[in-house]
Amino acid sequence: MTQLIIISCYLALLLGLGLFSSRLFRGTSKDYMLASHSIGPFLLLMSIFGTTMTAFALVGSTGESFKEGVGVYALLASSSGIIHSLCFFVLGIKLWSLGHKYGYTTQIQFFRDRLQSDRIGLLLFPILVGLVIPYLLIGVMASGSVINGVTQGTFETSFGFDAAVTKGGVPKQLASLVICAVVLIYVFFGGMRGTAWANTFQTIVFMILGVVTFYMIAMKLGGKDTLMESLRAASSEIPREKLIRGAVGDHHGISKLKYFTYMLVPLSVGMFPHVFQHWLTAKNSNAFKLPIIAHPIFIMIVWLPCVLVGVWASSDLFYGQLPAPLKAALDGNPNIVLPLLVKQLAGPMLGGFLTAGILAAIMSSLDSQFLCIGTMFTEDIVKHYVGAEKIDDRRSIVIARAFIILIVAITYGLSLFEPRAVFTLGVWCFSGFSSLFPLILACLYWRKLTKAGAYAAVIAAIGSWSYLFWQSDFAANRGYTVIIPGTDYETMPVATMFLCSTIAMVVVSLMTKPPEEAHLKRFFA
């Protein structure tokens, strides 16, 4: 019950903040979708960081390091610190500048203008939305599971759901509905400004709670008087295979080339439509400096303690002490390791706060994605095809809000079918976005890119993605790798997609007539 009270208070606080920020709403569609380009460095840093970090940053990082060892940090975190900031620097600033100059709100508006092609929007729209939806589903379903997990044993009623499934907790369906409603309310009323404020608040919450949890677990697990002594005691029992890198990935190690090609995955940030929208909210180009510099440090603050806790949990100090049923549960689902550690070592109060932190990480991604898809439907479909001149500003906001309600309803409806397969789609969605990275880079830096070259890049990216996805048994084969023909060298599927897209784009662009110089002058100084 303590945990449920803390979660309820947190959600109420969030709603209050969202509704407060809506009082700053200026009543224009530009304000609703882009906060009138008024976001300064701190809010930009917090909102972009909160958007790119999902529940995986807290729960998944601990679970993966419990299973695979400390190499998880190198594979997923330090690479993101380098590559995400690279995307902000190389793409974000230029796109912000062009967006401000030509009035873009969405990625597709930029591509249509730069490539002088209306239909590129029709090709890209289903791809971008299709790659975002599994992420929305993961967030909605994860929030239900988290709340149900921590409230089990609280109620005698099952609220009309299967008692064997709810186990005395808040039913997942009900919990997911509450989370969707909370996010919907503050996005509906506050738009991008409400989202930026809520993201900032939630990012602060999950970062602080992550560090506090680390301290509590270190002291309890180590069992000594000082933090340093406890850290040493906790680390002394880590199994050797969890300390070396050969242990990372698929239970039998990862090859060095596959590890290298994994670095292409974080390039996906450059093509996330919701990150694009956040970039456009910046007040000026200087607002990018803080996010570019601080993003790697923020990743470290969240990920490093979680990875250390994960490997501690794999030692005899924790795993070795567990009864057989709990060991089996952990082996089956390593992502429960952090909630389990907190439950066993820290009690209901910290458990409640940690749950609030996990929900904060989930919701700070969901809000941007909901707003972004609503904006894309409004701008790229309705206003583009009906005619922007026929839809006044006020009606634009009404349409965007209607689409946001629709997207939330559809996502929630899909989550009720519990498509568990979406959890394996994560890296495939990222890879799909990464395979489109060469296109956005070329749009900004390569004058010889042609419309035909852009189509070739998109078709090659999605064609190779579909083929490899099929080869992996639709993501059922989690360790699927592409082996370079004639060798034993393993690579991540994203490397093949990236290569296909780049080659197709370059070859077709060089074979076709480049754009007019007058047009290029609009994009190249």
């Binding site: 190198a74 380098i82 070396i244 060095k256 007040k283 180009s285 790697p296």
Partner: protein, 73 residues
């Protein structure tokens, strides 16, 4: 200086591969796995490199808006 900054970014990518630490199970200070310490340090080095990038490689062709959008959100 601009090229030196991009050289540092390339160096970060190379250092990220850290083949020399793959089988090293040392606990630095008795509690910190050396791989984790190295990659934590790489995150800090990345932040410093991007700081240098904002100082010495900032794009010159970025057009700032005439109005600043009516104040901070």
């Amino acid at each position: 200086m601009k090229y030196a900054v991009w050289g540092l970014v390339l160096l970060l990518v190379i250092l990220h591969q850290d083949n020399w630490l793959w089988d090293d199970a040392t606990l630095v200070g008795g509690f910190m796995p050396i791989t984790l310490l190295f990659h934590g340090g790489l995150s800090i080095a990345a932040a410093f490199t991007w700081f240098l990038a904002t100082k010495f490689a900032w794009p010159a062709d970025v057009a700032e808006p005439a109005s600043q959008g009516g104040g901070e959100a």
